[in-house]
């Protein structure tokens, strides 16, 4: 846990899986922490990060900003940022803001690993 956000990280099949454990992501400080964490992974040479939002019920748009910041970092490093386990409302938020065109979004971890491992 750091700066009000709980992140659990594991590495599987060359993919860094980041579980976001908070139910509500609202605080801009949490968003900044998540963005910094993701950018740090790409800076350290990680080539594929899968963010699991399965525990998140609600998030504010400031997190979409964090994902775009991290996405820019990933693109510059020729790395990949992907998401899985989105609630229907968060998935709709991704679609309405065009994030589904920027990032691979998977139904669950199994689907993500089967497709990310092949790419």
């Amino acid at each position: 846990m750091s700066d009000g956000i709980t992140l659990i990280e594991e590495v599987r099949q060359d993919v860094t899986l980041l579980h976001v454990m908070d139910a509500r992501l609202l605080d801009p400080l949490q968003a900044e922490t998540l963005s910094r964490h993701l950018c740090g992974l790409f800076d350290s040479g990680v080539l594929c990060v899968l963010v699991d939002l399965g525990s998140v019920q609600s998030l504010s748009s400031v997190f979409f900003r964090s994902f775009i910041v991290a996405g820019k970092k990933a693109a510059a490093a020729r790395a990949k940022l992907a998401f899985c386990n989105l609630s229907p409302v968060i998935r709709e938020g991704f679609a309405l803001t065009g994030l589904t065109d920027l990032f691979p979004v998977f139904k669950n971890e199994n689907e993500a690993f089967s497709k990310l491992a092949r790419s």
Binding site: L26, D27, S60, S61, I68, A75, L96, T97, L102
Partner: protein, 141 residues
Amino acid sequence: MNELSLEKKASRDNLKELFAFVEEALIRLDAPEENRGKMMMALDEIVANVVNYAYPEGQPGTVCLRLCRKDSTITAEVVDQGKAFDPTKHPEPDITLPIEQRPIGGLGIHLTRKMMNSMKYDRSEGKNRLVITTSWEKPYE
């Protein structure tokens, strides 16, 4: 009870309480989960905008939230006495740009506009008054 309201100082210290009120009100108004999620996302954005931008730094005024339900529609009203800001006139972001050219901000109001069934703004007597609604289909009875 079909209407709940809360007025607080529009400060960052009160954000958690304001968000908790919204969540609790939507549960008490028995909004379906999907509409609850959309309304929470919209109000998180609107309330955070009031707290962060409506008043001069260090001189917060108030923000008043009112939520009510009529049939299968939840209406939320947000009132503040800060500087005039009409989110219905806010320019649409270009969400088709590639990641390298994509601006980092500007998505919150766009998201609110798209997720709500309606969004109306009025400025009178020095107050911003924003009214948003979310509706659902009634189950067949």
